[in-house]
């Protein structure tokens, strides 16, 4: 074998082996970290104070710290007798470092106690949230005469009603989530129903 061939063979070995050897030396105390990203290891171990976190707003840290919050109701639901539209507003903060869009929310609303169908809810228009941005999301539902009468009857002895969402469809950031049934607890009955 001539010198050029030997030199080129040594070069091949050097450029193949050296980076891996360097990485093994860097991760010699934690060889698992050589393969699995440290962020994933932190997630598995539940380590909230990772030194490997990227910035203070690391989304994984946020999720671990339960800073991801479900939408919060803003005020009481409103009812417009002229359009027979029931509306409720929720505040939601995008905890991610990437924009997200809420393109669709649709669901049926039923009474949790007796399964009475109250109406369908939807959002007025798609919503786009930049990282960290908080926005109010308003959902609306047009009530039938039967639903209005039902709520009026309920309002005689209680000021709120426990409701379920059925066939809930949410299109969030390109992910379609479908739930057959989800209880969302007590919602106050709008006083405008009696106006």
């Amino acid at each position: 074998m001539n010198k050029v061939k030997i030199l080129l063979t040594l070069l091949t070995i050097a450029i193949t082996v050296t980076p891996i050897v360097v990485e093994v030396l860097i991760y010699r105390d934690n060889l698992l970290g050589l393969i699995i990203p440290p962020e994933i290891t932190d997630l598995i171990n539940g380590d909230n104070n990772s030194s490997n976190s990227i910035g203070n707003n690391n989304v994984i840290d946020k999720l671990l710290n339960s800073q991801f919050e479900l939408p919060k109701p803003v005020g009481d639901p409103q009812y417009d007798p002229e359009t027979r539209t029931l509306s409720a507003t929720f505040s939601f903060t995008n905890p991610l470092q990437t924009p997200i869009s809420i393109d669709k929310v649709s669901s049926g609303i039923v009474s949790h106690d007796d399964g009475f169908f109250i109406g369908n809810l939807t959002i007025d228009e798609p919503i786009r949230l930049d990282p960290g941005q908080t926005a109010d999301i308003t959902i609306t539902s047009i009530l039938s005469d039967d639903a209005v009468d039902y709520l009026k009857d309920k309002a005689e002895d209680q000021d709120s009603i426990n409701i379920d969402l059925i066939d809930l469809n949410v299109d969030l950031a390109g992910i379609q989530v479908q739930l057959d049934k989800q209880n969302i607890g007590d919602i106050s009955i709008p006083s405008q129903l009696f106006g």
Partner: protein, 207 residues
């Protein structure tokens, strides 16, 4: 050195190999996007990155593979350029032999790695990710916490991948062209004691 003596295929192949490095760092060969870029994977031999919910993830072994790939492309490009200028030198064939196969090997290994990864995702998580194209995947029940969750997944090979294939093809063409321009031609001749020695013959003598 005259232009006639240049191996033009090797010259172009060498330039493309060197150009391919910065291009592949900034534009991946293959891109996977889940949802509205909630998860993106940009994969090329010289730069592979994962972005999950806006957070960049890195792995030591992938970094090492990327550095190795950069060094392979770099050395092959430089050696191919050196060879292209001196294709008639006695050691030229060794230089070409080092450089011309590796671009093809890189493309094949890259594709094999991609296929194995996608197969592993299918086998381990039950999630079928297309090699190229779009599809809607439904998360298995074990991952969807009682809900039906489906998400649009799209993947595509980007133009640097096709450039890499073209580079590999040109590198092989350089090897084929080498046989035409290498002069004088060499044959082997056995001596009486069985040793094989190179003998230089010209085209005229062969006639």
């Amino acid at each position: 050195m005259t232009f006639k003596k240049l191996n033009w295929f090797a010259l172009i192949g060498g330039i493309l190999l060197l150009v391919l490095i910065p291009i592949s760092i900034y534009v991946s060969w293959w891109k996977l996007s889940v949802g509205d870029d909630l998860l993106t994977v940009n994969a090329s031999p010289v730069n592979t990155s994962f972005n999950v919910l806006g957070t960049q993830l890195s792995s030591g072994i992938i970094w090492a593979v990327n550095i190795t790939s950069i060094l392979v492309f770099l050395t092959c490009g430089i050696i191919m350029l050196i060879y292209s200028a001196i294709p008639a030198k006695p050691y030229a064939k060794d230089l070409l032999g080092y450089a011309y196969r590796k671009p093809l090997y890189m493309v094949i290994l890259y594709l094999a790695g991609l296929l194995v990864t996608l197969y592993a995702a299918q086998a381990a998580l039950g999630i079928g990710v297309p090699l190229a194209g779009s599809s809607t995947i439904t998360l298995p029940a074990s991952l969807s916490i009682g809900a039906n969750i489906s998400v649009m997944v799209s993947s595509t090979f980007q133009w640097p991948f096709w450039l890499a294939i073209a580079t590999a093809a040109i590198s092989i063409a350089a090897r084929i062209y080498h046989t035409r321009i290498s002069s004088p031609k060499q044959t082997t001749q056995s001596t009486s004691n069985g040793a094989v020695t190179p003998t230089t013959v010209t085209a005229n003598v062969q006639k």
